[in-house]
């Protein structure tokens, strides 16, 4: 399995690295990171905390754009261009193809987030004189959440085009972060266990304003990531296996 999944993942990475969108998004985000200290909120006297909060938000949006741009069109375009024929006919399971594609997207988004976090650290160090290592905890949480979104997007893309994938992924993102709002009423509380929540990955407060995220909580995020991404990929694999290519 590994021998088939990894070449597909590295193929996605190689293909992504030649795409201009990756670099445009990262450069644009880096420029915005340099502009954070110019925000008007800095009159409040909590400059470093506000910088971290905005930096996390910027990293989140950057990662989301990267994730959707890479994950939404990968499978549909390979099916349309028929490059998937050569892969599936070689005895690669369809779920292996999906997992490989997802893994490649996750690796690229991880690399992009890492590069962006380094830029944020440099800006933080130059502006406030502190390295802000806690930003890596935020980047890790964002990366895990994007892994879940990428899995969802890849699963939907097994049977739908990019527009549907992006719309569905954004809807999933909204629902995932609005469970308590959507089901906050007394009568609806019982439904909460059935609605997956992405709130586990929200570590803005401890990273920006607190003492960081405890290791046990980081580990629990990994569990949530494995569960949600795993379910999405299993469903995606089942959908893709039923599709005519």
């Amino acid at each position: 399995m590994r021998d088939r999944v990894l070449p597909i993942a590295f193929g996605v990475v190689a293909d992504s690295l030649r795409r201009k969108v990756l670099y445009i998004v990262l450069v644009f985000a880096a420029l915005l990171a340099f502009a954070i200290p110019a925000l008007p909120d800095y009159g409040l006297g909590v400059e470093a905390a506000v910088f971290r909060e905005v930096a996390l938000a910027l990293a989140y949006v950057t990662a989301l754009v990267l994730t959707l741009s890479l994950a939404a069109n990968r499978v549909p375009s390979e099916v349309e261009r028929r490059t998937v024929y050569n892969v599936v006919a070689k005895g690669v399971s369809r779920w292996e193809y999906l997992v490989g594609t997802w893994l490649g997207v996750v690796l690229v988004v991880g690399a992009g987030l890492a590069a962006f976090t380094v830029v944020e650290q440099i800006v933080g160090l130059v502006t406030y004189g502190e390295p802000m290592w806690r930003l890596w905890q935020g980047a890790f949480a964002t990366w895990l959440e994007m892994g879940v979104i990428a899995a969802f997007a890849v699963a939907i893309s097994a049977v739908a085009g990019p527009v549907v994938v992006v719309t569905a992924s954004l809807a999933a993102l909204f629902i995932g972060h609005a469970r308590s709002t959507l089901l906050g009423g007394e009568g609806a509380l019982g439904l909460q266990p059935f609605v997956p929540s992405l709130d586990a990955f929200n570590v803005v407060n401890p990273v920006a304003h607190g003492q960081g995220v405890p290791p046990l909580y980081l580990a629990s995020m990994v569990v949530v990531f494995c569960g949600l991404a795993g379910v999405s990929l299993i469903v995606g694999g089942a959908l893709f296996s039923r599709r005519d290519l």
Partner: protein, 317 residues
Amino acid sequence: MSDAVAPAILIEGARKAYKPIVGTPARDAVHDVTIRVAPGTIHGLLGPNGAGKTTTLKMLLGLVRPTAGTFSILGQDSTRPAGRRDVGFMPEQPYFPQHLTATQALRLYALLSGVPRAEIPGRIAALLERVGLSGRERTRLDAFSRGMLQRLGIAQALINDPRVVVLDEPASGLDPVGQRDVRNLMLSLRDAGVTVLLSSHQLSEVETVCDDVTIMNAGRVAAEGDLDDLLNVAGHTSIRARGLGEELPPAVAVHAGSVAASGGVWVFSVPDEAVRAVVDAIDDAGGAVVSVSPMRDSLEDYFARMLAETVTEGGAR
């Protein structure tokens, strides 16, 4: 094909029905197709456009879900990934990730096929040489012509040294030299004991290399067996003659059918029992017999007749 020999490829009762769009009837793209391919042979799959050839191959290789039927390659269920690991497939108009070089693409497919890493460079070099792409190892595929992509498609189909190869229109887009190379390649594969299932429109290609054929039309098997047996017109002989002037002698014309003349050479068919009399009549008229051979349909004529029969049957229904 002897029943005692287990087929290398076995398709039994294959059916593919597409769900109807609201208001339209369901449509069978492939209906009750059975194909047996003996080991170490080249089997042609022929038919006009829309006959169901490619759909049948896709079902065999797990690209399309069959509605019914069983599919096996070398005794294993080929609709499952494990049943395709000893198979090479070249789709019609093979597509590759355009940003890769020829070597990178073949390396990717070698890894996916489970070729040991140590063997990959040697295999890639040998295959590129074999398909006439030596010197193009580092050329990006977006700079490849269609013919070069076709050659690379053959190379990727052979990268795992398969025992069964499925080729869908392998000579499409190739120049005459390239078509000859593909024919020779198929023959060398057969000599090495590889089973080849070839889907093609090109009669010359099929006639040259295939041991047996299956002819499909309108999603069904229309005929199968030896191509000579299928295309020979029973009871008629084809005669080519020259030196007969502007018109056939009356003793020849009375028997001749399907007459054509070009460049002073006459071609016509006669009933088998009239061959001796016609040859004598040509001699008497001062002409020369160029050839006498069993009369044979062209594949184009065969298809045309099949299509006409299909239309007639459809009208009768």
